[in-house]
């Protein structure tokens, strides 16, 4: 059996490439900053959300951006999420609520003591409501727990047939950002400095352009890195350090490393046998196990929607230092995955399949995140029936380890990969 032969070869993936080590260093520095801030030795902390995050404005006031989603996923990746989730369930959260929120609420009840850092309490809760409705609830709950001031930035969803934000939407968001400036002045105790914001925007612009170049490298065969499992490594600095010199330098270094891998004709696996596109967030509690389930088949993810939650730079976005607020507004309104409608996501996935030359689509449906998952059965229907791309839908979760069934996951992935292998052999899909 093919399966038995593959057992002996796994795992094939290697994780400690140059950019992984570099990322680890940077993220550890960032977590140390959080711990220092929690201990009273650091700038005020602003909580914000990943989707289309306006971190530039926070950096322009030298405030510390804190992303509870990053904290939650770090806890999950370190296999420690369950006790935090259970603590939240003890105080009334449902098994059916987003487990990122529950892990974060559990963390609150543990006085912010996470495995990788002590998380400072918020000095400002900035609700960048970019697509995800749960964000609104999450920040409302954090406001109840912490009594910190809250500022909601309402981002109208893309809902018209041209797929563009309306002029009124842009005006509305820019106006809210203008109202946010004095709030930041108050929290930071610093006067707004337009030159500083321009400088931050310059770094962001370059960082985004570098990231877009890196993301585009995966059209190559073999793909020099995995656009899911390796891309998530780079997403930490993309959010926490965007708008800083360190962040920009990191992406310069990563681009060099990736170019070198490419020039050597190498990729993340010894041999790239299958090119896949993936939709949905990863199962953080079982990330490596999940990766190896594909690696053993020589399957590399060449594109992922998850890596575009924070921004769609690879499709042409770039921050504009000459018009910072409008540019930040456009980032939140248009240039990220989550504020676009479900059918726009189908189109993004289709362009990945076509332009990146994929053999199949994997939909990882996570219970926690209904923004991603609700309706993915329709997405599967569209790709399998209408587009004619082999499509696999598997279910687990991004934070809660109780929803990952290893044996069942593996059986389904193996069956899918066997059928893809068959497709390749008989030339059904290339």
């Amino acid at each position: 059996m093919a399966n038995a032969a593959k057992e002996s070869q796994e795992p094939q993936s290697h994780y400690q490439g140059g950019f992984h080590l570099l990322q680890k260093e940077l993220m550890n520095d960032y977590f140390d900053q959080m711990t220092r801030a929690a201990e009273g030795d650091g700038p005020p902390a602003v909580y914000l959300l990943i989707s289309g995050n306006p971190v530039e404005l926070i950096r322009a006031f030298d405030l510390l951006p804190v992303f509870p989603e990053i904290n939650a996923l770090q806890i999950a990746a370190k296999h420690q999420s369950l006790p935090f989730i259970q603590k939240a369930e003890e105080v009334g959260y449902s098994t059916d609520n987003c487990a990122y929120v529950k892990a974060d609420v559990g963390l609150w009840y543990q006085d912010g003591q996470a495995p990788m850092a002590k998380v400072p309490k918020p000095d400002l809760l900035l609700t960048n409501y970019v697509g995800c409705n749960v964000y609104l609830h999450w920040w409302e709950h954090l406001a109840e727990l912490s009594h910190a001031p809250i500022f909601d930035i309402d981002i109208p969803f893309i809902r018209t047939s041209d797929g563009e934000p309306r002029a009124e939407d842009i005006t509305y968001v820019v106006r809210q950002l203008e109202e946010l400036i004095p709030v930041f002045e108050k929290v930071s105790g610093k006067k707004f400095d337009p030159d500083k914001l321009t400088e931050v925007m310059e770094y962001s612009k370059e960082t985004g352009e570098l990231w877009a170049q890196i993301k585009r490298m995966t059209v190559n065969r073999p793909s020099p890195f995995d656009a899911y499992f390796d891309a998530v490594t780079m997403m930490g600095p993309l959010y926490t350090l965007r708008g800083t010199k360190e962040g920009r330098d990191f992406f310069r270094d990563v681009l060099k490393m990736v170019e070198e891998i490419k020039s050597q004709g190498k990729g993340p696996l010894p041999e790239e046998k299958f090119r896949l596109v993936v939709e949905g967030p990863p199962p953080w509690p079982y990330l490596r196990i999940f990766r190896d389930m594909f690696a053993r088949w020589g399957a590399v993810f060449v594109a992922s929607t998850y890596s575009t939650v924070g921004g769609l730079w690879e499709f042409g976005f770039s921050h504009d230092p000459s018009d910072p607020l409008r540019s930040v507004a456009m980032h939140m309104l248009k240039w990220n995955l989550t504020n676009r409608n479900f059918l726009q996501r189908y189109q993004q996935l289709k362009s990945y399949v076509d332009e990146w030359g994929a053999d199949g689509l994997v939909i990882h449906s996570v219970k926690s995140c209904r923004l991603f998952s609700a309706g993915q059965g329709d997405m599967r229907e569209y790709f399998a029936r209408q587009v004619g791309v082999p499509t696999l839908l598997v279910e687990s979760d991004l934070e809660d380890p109780r929803y990952f069934s290893k044996a069942q996951m593996r059986t389904r992935i193996d069956a899918f990969m066997e059928s893809l292998e068959h497709h390749k052999l008989v030339g059904l899909h290339t």
């Binding site: 709950h141 909601d152 219970k367």
Partner: protein
């Protein structure tokens, strides 16, 4: 205009009228809507929960119909392959209505920014029913900026233009103000009936009140006003029931609706419901929307500054837990029933806030989960009976 209600002459008492009304909304084939459509010649637009600006639909010469899934009236055969097991029933049953051609009498469907599944549902509708008019309203979630007023006004103007495309009618400001006046009247009557039940829950039952409100999802606003006016008179003539109940406020059922028989079972299990959030969107405003001046601006302004607290509307000026505790004290309720639709994330999140606030205030509460597609109610009924007994014997 002849409709099911105004033509029902046989009963002039409230229980009789209520029994005659349930067919209106427990019919997955929308026969009453077809009849109204035939008689009025108007196109029909279905609006998904929670709140929808029905005045705009009406002003455009379109008959608005509240589409809240299919309750326990149909089997889900197709929609559960599109939406996963962890998505609430009302999403799936509404899609199933589409897949089984039951929404063909609707020219359009209008969805709103209430939660992530409802938003994705609007997209899935667009893809699967490309010939249908499908729209989506993004309601503002920043209530403290003046910008949200301008924004919502522009959103309403966009939707109105799309409605005009559908009906071919050019809407004047006067049309909108006329619609506001009528819906104000219906909302005022519903507020009156809610107050009457608060004072006399042993006279006007929750099953009756619910049915009267729900009829407004189907009927024309004129007929709904007629029905509510008649109900108000008849309620005053009813004799009180003798029963040993506790007084409660029920929250959490603002979107997907429990079956009518479950509402009845809950009440029978020992609840005098002083307030609830069933069909909250029909009763969205705390006071009349001004019906002179710029109608669209007034609707937007009322949404922002004069609407009810809701799980699907975020307002940093309010604290939901505190508001609920205040309401319990103001109405003299003994307890709170938090009744949430299974997998309803907004409702489940609010429960965590309510639980904390109620426990801190020493107010007893019971949490129950329901699904619109339920047939058996004994589990919830037993839970409520036990809860009621524990309070009565305390």
């Amino acid at each position: 205009m002849a409709t099911t209600v105004s033509s029902s002459q046989e009963t002039e008492n409230l229980p009789g009228i209520v029994n005659g009304l349930r067919n209106l909304f427990e019919d997955p084939d929308f026969q009453a809507v077809a009849e109204i459509k035939r008689a009025s010649g108007k196109p029909v637009v279905g609006h998904f929960p929670v709140y929808s600006p029905v005045e705009l639909i009406y002003a455009a010469g379109i008959h608005p119909v509240g589409v809240v899934g299919a309750g326990n009236q149909i089997e889900i055969a197709h929609a559960d392959s599109r939406f996963q097991s962890f998505v609430c029933s009302v999403i799936k049953s509404t899609l199933e209505l589409g897949f089984t051609d039951r929404l063909q009498i609707f020219e359009g469907m209008l969805f709103h920014s209430i939660c992530d599944p409802a938003r994705n549902l609007a997209s899935v509708f667009k893809r699967n029913f490309p010939d249908q008019w499908v729209e989506y309203i993004h309601f503002p979630q920043n209530m403290v900026t003046e910008g949200s007023l301008d924004y919502l006004e522009s959103e309403y103007r966009r939707i109105l233009a799309r409605l005009e495309d559908l009906s071919g009618k050019k809407v004047r400001n006067d049309d909108i103000n006329e619609a506001i006046g009528k819906y104000n009247r219906a909302r005022q009557l519903m507020r009156d009936l809610y107050q009457f039940r608060r004072e006399h829950p042993d006279i006007l039952t929750t099953k009756e009140l619910y049915t009267l409100v729900r009829a407004g999802h189907i009927l024309s606003v004129e007929d709904h006003i007629g029905l509510l006016e008649k109900a108000k008179v008849l309620a005053g003539k009813k004799t009180p029931l003798v029963r040993d109940h506790i007084k409660v406020i029920l929250v959490g059922s603002f979107c997907e609706q429990p079956p009518l028989d479950l509402i009845f079972s809950m009440e029978e299990a020992g609840l005098d419901v002083l307030d609830d959030d069933f069909l909250l969107g029909r009763r969205w405003f705390t006071e009349d929307v001004p019906d002179d001046g710029d109608g669209i601006r007034n609707l937007a302004n009322s949404y922002r500054d004069r609407s009810v607290i809701a799980a699907v509307k975020h307002d940093s000026r309010q604290q939901k837990g505190k508001e609920l505790v205040d309401r319990v004290r103001r109405f003299g309720a003994d307890a709170v029933i938090v009744s949430v639709a299974k997998f309803c994330e907004p409702g489940l999140f609010d429960y965590a806030l309510y639980r904390k606030a109620l426990m801190e205030a020493g107010i007893p509460h019971l949490f129950v989960e329901f699904e619109e597609k339920m047939w058996l109610f004994d589990k919830i009924q037993t839970e409520i009976e036990t809860f009621v007994e524990s309070l009565l014997l305390d």
